[in-house]
């Protein structure tokens, strides 16, 4: 029972003990645990993907009033849960086409880079007390830096494919990706400011009150920016089939195409986990102090809830135009993120963190956030009315011109 309570850490210690018992020198024990740990951690998102592919399809199917994968044949499994295995076999036997005149190296490297970046982020996600790949003191910055890596992959895909659609789509995607990085970073600035650390583990430990209650506006900003970074509707330009066919993916086929999809899925799950870590208290939950093995389970439940919200957005909202997307970012999210950082900084100094009763402190922040949110809605309302009035005035002027006697 004691073993089960801290299952994952104990397995690691047991394995280390086994190596030491086998008489290996200390340095080799370290190296072997390091490499093995890295492989185990890298398999976590892959195994999550196994279920996530099925879960996503089921959700889409239910939203579209269908059944989704439900084949119980050779590869189906119960409720079609093994559908993804059948898909993988199919994809691996597909021919891999490279268009004429493509820049082969860049073209081939792009999906690999995309997937590598999507996997690499998992190094700093905390799954529990002491259960983290690497408790970097710059964890948040590491995540942001890798986020830019996927941008480079997108640009490589567009540049290498020797296709006008791919090139245009890549440039459009880059424009939105870089634009939405700013509200995302500024939202993280507010989080880091309140929690006082870049380390994801420290941010989780700080959350006696989940930051969603303390900084709801920041959470919304981060969520909106994440939706766009992931290319989810309403901000999906990547798959705007009616405008740019399949975006920068157009020339990809076979395994390389599926690598992009896998990376997209992984990023989506990763952002859900990140949101759960930064705003919902990560691995913390009831009884986690007595049994640390519950940590990954709480994190998983929270991440799946966030993911469900992502999917509701994806499959129920229409798509925006690119100028609307960029306008929303630059004219709404960025100013709001800047004001949010200012206001939270001032409030944090006037009402310093009180570890004795954090709920009171969180309540003050919540109140200020609600006031700020109300102010934002008011400003939008007034601006909208003014724009409407201007439009109507223009319309009457043009009508008068038309009807005026020559």
């Amino acid at each position: 029972m004691e073993f089960l309570k801290n299952l994952f850490v104990n397995i690691g210690l047991w394995f280390q003990g086994l190596l030491v018992g086998a008489g290996l020198p200390d340095i080799w024990v370290r190296v072997i645990t390091l490499v093995l740990g890295a492989f185990v951690l890298a398999f976590v998102p892959l195994i999550a993907m196994f279920f996530l592919g099925w879960y996503e399809r089921k959700i889409v199917a239910r939203i579209a009033d269908r059944l989704g994968p439900n084949n119980t044949g050779a590869f189906g499994g119960p409720y079609g849960i093994l559908q993804i295995v059948a898909d993988a076999i199919k994809i691996f036997t597909k021919e891999d086409l490279v268009p004429d005149g493509a820049n082969r190296g860049v073209f081939n490297a792009s999906p690999m880079l995309m997937l590598a970046v999507a996997v690499a982020v998992w190094a700093v996600i905390p799954f529990g007390e002491g259960l983290i790949g690497s408790d970097l003191n710059i964890g948040v910055i590491y995540i942001l830096a890798l986020g830019s890596g996927s941008m480079i992959a997108v640009l490589m895909a567009g540049w290498g494919a020797n296709n006008k659609y791919a090139m245009l789509a890549a440039l459009r995607s880059i424009a939105t990706l870089i634009s939405y990085e700013i509200p995302q970073v500024l939202a993280l600035v507010a989080v880091v400011m309140v929690a006082g650390s870049f380390s994801t583990q420290d941010i989780v430990k700080f959350q006696d009150v989940p930051l969603l209650f303390t900084l709801p506006l920041t959470a919304l900003l981060f969520f909106a920016a994440a939706l766009s970074e992931l290319g989810r509707r309403p901000f999906d330009l990547v798959e705007a089939d009616s405008e740019i066919v399949a975006g920068y993916l157009i020339e990809y086929s076979g395994v390389k195409f599926i690598l992009y999809y896998l990376a997209e899925f992984m990023n989506q799950f990763m952002i859900s986990v990140l949101f759960a870590t930064l705003f919902l208290g990560g691995w913390r939950g009831p009884w986690v102090d007595q049994a640390p093995a519950l940590g990954p389970i709480w994190l998983g439940i929270k991440a799946f809830l966030v993911l469900f919200v992502f999917q509701l957005f994806q499959y129920t909202l229409p798509r925006l135009r690119i100028d609307q997307i960029l306008g929303f970012c630059w004219k709404f999210l960025t100013p709001l993120a800047l004001v949010n950082v200012c206001v939270m900084a001032l409030v944090g100094k006037l009402a310093p963190y009180d570890s004795a009763n954090p709920w009171v402190w969180a309540g003050i922040f919540l109140l200020i956030n609600i006031l700020l949110g109300a102010l934002v809605i008011l400003v939008l309302e007034v601006a909208g009315r003014l724009a409407q009035r201007r439009k109507e005035a223009e319309l009457t002027v043009s009508l008068e011109e038309e009807t005026a006697p020559a």
């Binding site: 390091l34 740990g37 890295a38 492989f39 890298a42 892959l46 994809i91 691996f92 036997t93 597909k94 021919e95 891999d96 086409l97 268009p99 004429d100 005149g101 690999m112 995309m114 997937l115 590598a116 970046v117 996997v119 690499a120 190094a123 690497s134 408790d135 970097l136 910055i141 590491y142 540049w159 020797n162 296709n163 006008k164 659609y165 090139m167 440039l171 870089i178 634009s179 700013i182 500024l186 600035v189 880091v192 309140v194 650390s197 076979g254 395994v255 390389k256 690598l259 690119i322 100028d323 306008g327 630059w330 004219k331 800047l338 004001v339 950082v341 900084a345 001032l346 944090g348 100094k349």
Partner: protein, 118 residues
């Protein structure tokens, strides 16, 4: 801390292996029968005309420059955010003024119409 970075280094390599492995595996399984029709660049059934590395609108660069400005701003704000608890009210007000100046810059860009994607 060095140990933590060692893990990051190993993990980046493992991640790269995860990215490279599927295409390599597929290379041994998949059929390889290219023909000139198949490897044509996709464009609605027509041959692609002219160079495909097209020039993009100048508006794009305005966005890129604005991005650089605000990204540098964020880079300056991150250390400030980390030191926030150690700072006095005076330093916080200074940072707020710094942010407000940049907000002014954003409003200027907006008024100039640089934020319109045409």
């Amino acid at each position: 801390m060095l140990n933590q970075f060692a893990f990051i280094g190993v993990f980046l390599l493992v991640a790269l292996i995860f990215g490279v492995a599927p295409p390599v595996m597929a290379f041994f399984i998949r059929p390889k029968k290219p023909n000139p029709r198949k490897s044509e660049v996709y464009e609605c059934g027509m041959r692609t005309h002219g160079a495909t590395w097209v020039q993009f609108k100048a508006q794009y660069y305005v966005f890129a420059i604005a991005f650089v400005v605000f990204d540098v701003e964020a880079a300056l704000l991150l250390p400030w955010a980390l030191a926030y608890h150690a700072l006095g009210l005076y330093a916080v007000i200074e940072a707020v003024i710094f942010i407000l100046i940049l907000l002014g810059g954003l409003l200027y860009l907006w008024r100039k119409g640089a934020l319109e994607w045409m």
